[in-house]
Homo-oligomer: 314 residues x 2
């Protein structure tokens, strides 16, 4: 496929891959600066069928206890089962993307996730996917609104239907059926924005670039604003519970994780998304009226986070 694809796509593929590399570097540099202590250490790896990636992991930072900013560009031929699961129109593929999860030390700083990706199938079809979502240990309503507003504004610049469609999609995707709760306050999720069908390639690419940018900008801001807030043992205990839910989602539900593990992706890069430490207590329910119970109430689909007037964080 690296040689026999429609040649008009090849330069575009390179453009996207190049941007993904630059975006990775911009993002981990931004997060490092905000963290102010540890740096994202590199690991370079190769994919068995072609290409590879650069995994960047931070551990024991000032704000970030553990996090990753991973770039990959891989190609090859999927086996039948994987191709079928992914609804691939052709088993030959090229895929490039950046994947991010951050687990902060303080329960006052939310866990965050972002992914942008670009796929080409051997039959010439090409599409973008991605998203970002926020998992506060304690929901700060003002910050959740602000986060959604920033995303909505980016979506609005590209397509007036994007925010609501992709916000609903995130509500469905980041949902733990067995807990009947969302992973956090959501964000957006989209897949298979197909070149030609859902927009021309430059339009779709510009949107995905903005999705990456809004993540770096909003999450740095939330890190800065919350990192110095006080907390105690009770808050850490609740953080350990919320983190174990995060692990449940990533290991048992997340399609990206499943796909990576089942197709012999690099395990340590895929599982960098798991929390540095977490706890499972049997049947732990927050007592009514506590801040923990209040947070739990927000973990549902269909919350409208947009107000009539823009939210100020100050």
């Amino acid at each position: 496929m690296t040689t026999d694809t429609d040649t008009t796509l090849v330069p575009f593929r390179q453009t996207v891959e190049q941007w993904m590399r630059h975006f990775q570097k911009w993002l981990y540099t931004t997060l490092e600066t905000t963290d102010g202590s540890a740096t994202f250490q590199p690991d370079y790896w190769q994919h068995h069928s072609g290409g590879g990636g650069e995994t960047r992991v931070i551990q024991n930072g000032n704000i970030l206890e553990k996090g990753g900013v991973n770039f990959s560009a891989v190609w090859g031929r999927m086996d039948e089962r994987a191709a079928k699961q992914l609804l691939m129109p052709d088993p030959n593929y090229f895929a490039t993307g950046v994947s991010v999860v951050q687990h902060p030390r303080s329960p006052r700083v939310p866990i965050s996730h972002m992914n942008v990706r670009y796929f080409e199938a051997g039959n010439g079809e090409a599409w973008f996917g991605g998203g970002l979502d926020l998992t506060p240990i304690y929901v700060d309503v003002k910050q959740a609104r602000w986060f959604h507003e920033q995303i909505a504004e980016v979506c609005q610049r590209h397509n007036p239907t994007y925010y609501q469609r992709f916000k609903d999609w995130a509500d469905e995707y980041f949902f733990l059926t067995h807990r009947q709760e969302t992973r956090g306050v959501g964000g957006i999720f989209f897949d298979r924005l197909t070149v030609g069908k859902d927009g021309d390639r430059d339009e779709l690419f510009a949107f995905v670039q903005d999705v990456g940018e809004v993540y770096g900008r909003t999450y740095s801001e939330l890190m800065r604003r919350n990192a110095e807030l006080p907390y105690g043992d009770d808050e850490v205990k609740w953080q350990m519970i919320r983190r174990s839910r995060y692990a449940e989602f990533n290991l048992a539900i997340d399609r990206g994780t499943k796909f990576g593990l089942e197709t012999s992706g690099r395990t340590e890069s895929i599982l960098m998304s798991l929390p540095p430490r977490c706890e499972w207590h049997y049947n732990m329910q927050p007592a009514p009226g506590t801040p923990e119970a209040e947070t739990q109430q927000w973990l549902k689909k269909g919350v409208n986070w947009l107000d009539n007037s823009p939210t100020s964080l100050d």
Copy 2:
């Protein structure tokens, strides 16, 4: 199905269910006595389509940091997808079983798992399944041999082919493909021992009863022998890593967990198997020559744990 099944099966079903209830009580009482401190607290629950269960969970015991001994007897009609996944000859089913996982506090005491189960399909087919396996944080070769010998002896009493077949099956089943390692030193695993085809019902039932008994007996012994051994921070750190592998297996791989979560089983009963606390460190590899590296070497398929002469634990 509760009314229209071959009536000769109904009394047997009740016999099995009754034994499962008694076995649950015998087992948690045995483990409580060995633990010497906390008790297994009950939760009674009902299944949406019929039946229910008794979940017994211990937390913060003397030896057991967290563990469960769960009984269930449920029936109903599976949806198409679940029936297909389970290769059910008929969507109507009755299932009863006891499921056990123990997470000890000390890294010197292995994690353990045991399950015995009995299924009936609406077309009259009935079968047993089960198994047990041991996950030492540090492999004690003598104890691993002894554990396998005790199981082999039980198998031998029932069928000379059982131990090797079911030991190999456990090696395949309790395997983390994405880590290329077994969950621990294994044990046995078997499924679909079909009444009529693989033995008469009383023979198969007697085997399953002995599987339950050998678990309670051997695991109590391993608790007693290891609970007082000294350990330090390094051993606990390694324990947290091994526990996170256990969580990976149960959430991402174990078919029983998947099936339970996807068919609206009781989440807290299913996920009692998860460790009380665990840690994920990026790309943690034990240094060569350490006890941790030595343990890692044993985490592979095909180890022959049976020696020519019986192992004494003393």
